[in-house]
Symmetry: none
Subunit: 248 residues, 2 copies
Amino acid sequence: MLKEARLNRIIEAVNERRFVSLHALMELTHSSESTIRADLVELAESGKIHRIRGGAQAINDESLSYEPSLEDKLGLHFAEKRLIAQKAVTLVRPNMAVYLDAGTSTHALAEELDAPGIKIFTNSMHVARKVIANGYKAYVVGGEFKFSTDAFIGPMAQDTLSRFHFDLGFFGTNGVSLDQGFTTPDVEEAAIKAKAMEQCKEAYVLADSSKFGVVTSVSFHPFDPSHLITDHVYQDEYRNLGILEAKP
Amino acid sequence: MLKEARLNRIIEAVNERRFVSLHALMELTHSSESTIRADLVELAESGKIHRIRGGAQAINDESLSYEPSLEDKLGLHFAEKRLIAQKAVTLVRPNMAVYLDAGTSTHALAEELDAPGIKIFTNSMHVARKVIANGYKAYVVGGEFKFSTDAFIGPMAQDTLSRFHFDLGFFGTNGVSLDQGFTTPDVEEAAIKAKAMEQCKEAYVLADSSKFGVVTSVSFHPFDPSHLITDHVYQDEYRNLGILEAKP
DNA sequence: ACATATTTCGTTATAATTCATTAAATTTCA
DNA sequence: TGAAATTTAATGAATTATAACGAAATATGT
């Protein structure tokens, strides 16, 4: 990995989640401890990050606070999301057309992608930027741009989606429930998710264990254990249904 | 492989992927290390790419932060562009569907927009952000995302465009010539512009006076004085043709 | 609180890449 | 053919990445 690219990814990672450990950065960039240490020294000297024991911290807390919901989620259950992402990428084969939903779980997945010739489709600019930083081509569904979520929604996005077909799709969710299925709090997001899932030969939902038993306002797909990837199933009623677990 | 073709592929690869290693370029062009090195020196000197250790980086990438207004104002002919934008917005009526091309002239226009109920369509994320900051809705044509220009191009973008129809469109250009018409240096950009112009009931080209008499590699529309807006016409051969001037 | 592990850090040393330079081989075109 | 341009090869120097290790800071257990 090129040094400049690596430095960029470190800055990105630090700004996304308030704090990043040195070891997380080692895995993220596939570099050694020494290298990351040197990078952190460099970035701290140039004022890009704040170096603290064990890793790095974002410089500003003021300008980052404009969109708390997204940033918060990035921090929460991050380790689990990464585990899930690592499990999910094993399903991606070379040259596939893969759709990535907008959401924190899929952001983690965008970072872990590693297969030649894959084409990534998404409605999230955040995902698109990560995919490009990873060296893959990113195709973005257009539509009404929502600044707060950095993603495209609405009828125009759905209409565009209906013209494409994906080998594989990965979707985030806010709730997983036996009765209500997969749910999100936003009507438009749910519509986009549902439409995109229709266009996938196979669609997997990514959900860390904290989402189980949660129901938010809009369902976008019925419960389907065989296409659900999580870190670990704790509740008894979800056991032995064939849910894919990404235990380390 | 021809040298020009190789240089073009390098520029393309860098702009698409944001970072490209020297070895990747060697494989891409089937050339030796020395050749690529020489190419990178040449391209960096002419300002097409940024050379970094181990490869090349897209130019746009230096200031990762989205602080466009500053960057724009530092750009060439800013005062003229703003004049032109102010003239152009007088053509925008309430509730119109308006297409804005990617480019610095249209960025200025995005800042000057002031009509109720208008819907703005664009292929530029830069424009989209400005439009939203101005309080209007922004609809973005999807497609392959190009990091360096912060815009969407390619067949997917053209395909999406073909489904929409705009009351009015504004386009930037790199060259204005009586014989060669309106030209840009990039084939894909030209294709997008041409396609978008087709979808407009009326399409205006914005060009500050420095563009007159300039011809770059690809034409996207024949010369049309009645739909050309500039700050001031200096050359005699372009006088009295009905070009709209935005004199203060 | 104390002593003992464990982790993290900074330094130094070493290995691996990448670079600029030069010169040789190759192609192009007059 | 022969000169100019282009591509390639070869080199030692410079930069970067990694490994090793003792010191400092934290965590753990009694």
